[in-house]
């Protein structure tokens, strides 16, 4: 008889696994990737391929050098690659994808100690690096290409259009925003595809539903005020479906590692991102604010965790005096 001994519980949920969580997210991104390929064609596949490959290689090399078991089998490295690729403009030069991926994994994740240790969302760290370093190649003009074969690529992105009252009437209607027939980063154009995958993630409990709900509420309410006050040319509804707000809410902010652990913390985190997105969109020089909003809120996650320690059912444990 060969039996093992362990501390209870002896039962575990067989369907749960760190890798399964990452695979869930990649599955949830399939509709978004499909739309991306439909709109942007080979550019989409090219960038996803390069980013996934570079992210995986960077992680493998780092682990090898650091003497850790060299493997990307938890799928978190490749996932960072997919998200980073989907947040880039279609015209991004290849060296941008490569450098962004290396930076995302090396500085965004591995330097903190690898999976589970990083403070910031690795994909957003990588994107922030390339956006600031290669501003010229990735600015608003990078999205527009007059001679492009697809219609969408000849237009400015919806949020760029919306910034100027003079061009605001060119803002696309709801239908193009839903199905994704507009310009934008590779993965942000179709709200419908994002919602499809995002709701799947929330139902699977891979993503905490409080975060996307918080982001949406946190963005829509100030957007409505800004609209009333005349700070923005488009409606709160347009803000919700344009740009990467939904992509950020469902796929970037919900990264478990860089978001709070308590339900209350998740609410504050989500609402904070939503509000910051609207402030950045309205008052900064960027048409879009998801990346900076997520990174800013990432930085307060340890504080949020500490502020929102739940009280145990039945109250805190009474500490005996003089014990």
């Amino acid at each position: 008889m060969n039996v093992s001994v362990a501390s209870s519980p002896h039962f575990s949920n067989m369907k749960q696994g760190t890798r399964q969580m990452m695979v869930d997210v990649i599955l949830a991104l399939i509709p978004t990737i499909a739309v991306s390929v439909w709109i942007f064609g080979w550019y989409s596949i090219l960038h996803i391929g390069i980013c996934v490959l570079t992210c995986s290689l960077t992680e493998l090399v780092w682990k090898k050098l650091a003497g850790m078991p060299a493997s990307v089998s938890d799928a978190s490295g490749p996932l960072t690659g997919v998200i980073l690729a989907l947040s880039l403009p279609w015209s991004a030069p290849i060296y941008v994808s490569v450098l962004g991926s290396i930076f995302a994994i090396a500085i965004g994740k591995m330097i903190f100690g690898g999976l589970g240790m990083n403070l910031f969302n690795p994909a957003m760290v990588g994107r922030a690096f390339v956006m600031l370093s290669f501003a010229g190649a990735l600015g608003a003009s990078a999205y527009v290409y007059d001679g492009a074969p697809a219609d969408a690529l000849t237009q400015a992105t919806p949020l760029t259009v919306a910034r100027d009252v003079a061009t605001a009437q060119e803002f696309p209607g709801l239908w193009p925003l839903l199905i994704g027939k507009t310009n934008g980063s590779l993965g942000e154009t179709s709200s419908l595809a994002i919602l499809l995958g995002g709701i799947f993630l929330c139902v699977r409990r891979t993503a905490a539903w409080q975060i996307p709900t918080g982001v949406v509420l946190g963005a829509v309410i100030p957007a409505a005020f800004f609209e009333l006050l005349g700070f923005t040319a488009i409606t709160a509804f347009d803000h919700l479906f344009a740009g990467s707000l939904l992509f950020g809410a469902f796929f970037i902010a919900t990264d478990p590692v860089s978001s709070p652990i308590t339900p209350k913390g998740k609410w504050i985190f989500g609402v904070g991102i939503g509000i910051l997105i609207m402030i950045l969109r309205t008052f900064s020089s960027y048409p879009e604010g998801v990346m900076f909003a997520v990174l800013l809120m990432n930085s307060v996650v340890p504080l949020l965790n500490r502020w929102t320690i739940p009280t145990p059912v039945g109250g805190s444990f009474p500490e005996k005096p003089n014990a």
Partner: protein, 450 residues
């Protein structure tokens, strides 16, 4: 009564592990043939060990007291077979405690075995006349009969039954949830002897002065609900159907689910005027009063994919696991873990000489297919442990604090509030041994106080 339309009660959070009750839920309770030898441990309950009260090599009859209570929170121990005692031994119980045992070699003549035992244990008439019973005598009698909680924790029952004018009891909850996967001992008892449970419930209410008796049963045992409803008839005893969710049968979860009251952290249900009693304990109480039987036997579920013939057995306290398992056809080749209790809160054992105690609700034999084979990965801070913890703790923080020996963090996150139900570790995608680490944390905190 229209059972289907009864409302369902539950608590917040928790998990839905596979129930795995089908192995033994349709196996009628059988009596284990008297074993050749029993080794009766002197510490089977929470509290102080019992003290031996007989000489070695003494002739004892089943039901004779062999050890006295060792304090207020303690219980005496009785011979579970008739025979001759041998020299005291020492054994390691599943929970890791080394305790003294009194071995008894069974004699040829057994007054209480087979069908006689089954009839005395489950059958017959269980009607009682409460007017003839002094409520204050019940706690003392309970203490003499060595009755402790049969749900697993084995808390001495006489402590619960003591009338305390400062803390009056309003509600008595009879716990028939049996939320542990695999175990069916309580389920079978409710089906085969509902009247004994009701008699015990009435006695407990009589002793404590509780006005309301509520029997709580999970909805995966509607046949037991029906059996008890039939037995209750028009008496003033309520049945509440609980959602099948783990840990519904935990005292704190049950009080919250049935009455909407939170048991204070570090306190007892008594602090909110509630006494919770397992159905097995209630039945023992009735047996003590109506059959003059001290606690000498208990129902044990022998189950799991690794056992040849799963059964529910009436077993003398002190019977070695090996004897019980052999009677059930033995263990299959693909066995991976043998557990005293159920898979969520039970203890894994390797030595099958260890005896069945008052708190052994089951012997669960798991196979390789039942145990998740996966490496522990880093915590991705997904918060699933927080989302399942029925007590609203932050298990991963506690585990991390235990790893880093950070006593302040352990205190800040109320490590002592944890009841070790195992929901967090069950759900953790990173396969982190959260409960084990939290236990370590509790010990670290305790050591730092000295």
């Amino acid at each position: 009564m229209q059972l289907k339309n009864l409302p369902r009660f539950t608590f917040k959070k928790g998990i839905h592990p596979p129930e795995c009750k089908s192995f033994s839920e349709h196996q009628a309770i059988e009596v284990l043939p008297t074993p050749d030898i029993v080794r009766i441990p002197l510490l089977q309950h929470i509290g102080a060990p019992s003290k031996v009260s007989i000489k070695p090599r003494a002739e004892v009859a089943v039901g004779d007291k062999i050890a006295d209570s060792g304090g207020f929170i303690s219980a005496p121990v009785h011979a579970s077979v008739s025979g001759k005692t041998a020299r005291e031994g020492v054994i390691t119980l599943p929970n890791g405690r080394r305790v003294t045992t009194v071995p008894i070699k069974a004699s040829e003549e057994q007054p209480l075995e087979g069908d006689t035992l089954k009839e005395a244990f489950l059958g017959g008439d269980w009607s009682i006349n409460l007017d003839e019973i002094d409520p204050t005598s019940l706690s003392t009698a309970c203490s003499e009969a060595g009755i402790v909680g049969m749900g697993g924790a084995a808390f001495p029952t006489h402590v619960k039954l003591m009338r305390n004018e400062e803390r009056p009891v309003t509600d008595l909850l009879i716990n028939g949830c049996e939320c542990e996967p695999f175990l069916t001992a309580d389920h079978r008892l409710m089906l085969e002897s509902p009247a004994s449970i009701l008699a015990g419930a009435k006695l407990a209410a009589h002793a404590t002065g509780a006005e309301n008796i509520t029997i709580c049963i999970e909805e995966n045992k509607m046949d037991a609900v029906q059996a008890l409803a039939d037995a209750i008839g028009d008496e003033n005893i309520q049945i509440k159907v609980m959602l099948s969710k783990y840990p519904q049968g935990g005292e704190k979860s049950l009080v919250m689910a049935a009455l909407g009251k939170a048991v204070p952290t570090g306190g007892l249900p008594l602090d909110v005027g509630v006494v919770v009693m397992n159905v097995g304990t209630a039945s023992s109480l009735a047996r003590m009063v109506l059959r003059q039987m001290p606690l000498t036997h208990r129902i044990v579920t022998v189950t799991g994919a690794g056992i040849e013939n799963p059964k529910n057995l009436i077993v003398p306290i002190g019977t070695p696991f090996q004897t019980v398992i052999d009677y059930c056809g033995g263990i299959k080749d693909n066995v991976s873990r043998i557990i005293a209790g159920g898979p969520m809160m039970g203890f894994s054992v390797t030595d099958l000489e260890i005896p069945v105690t008052k708190g052994t609700s089951g012997i669960t034999v798991l196979t390789h297919d039942d145990i998740k084979q996966a490496n522990t990965t880093a915590c991705v801070r997904c918060g699933m442990c927080v989302d399942t913890c029925p007590l609203d703790l932050v298990p991963t923080k506690l585990a991390l604090a235990a790893r880093h020996k950070s006593i302040d963090t352990l205190k800040q996150y109320s490590v002592d509030a944890c009841m070790e139900c195992g929901c967090c570790a069950y759900q953790c995608p990173a396969n982190i041994p959260l409960v084990q680490l939290i236990r370590t944390g509790k010990i670290l905190k305790k050591m730092s106080n000295n």
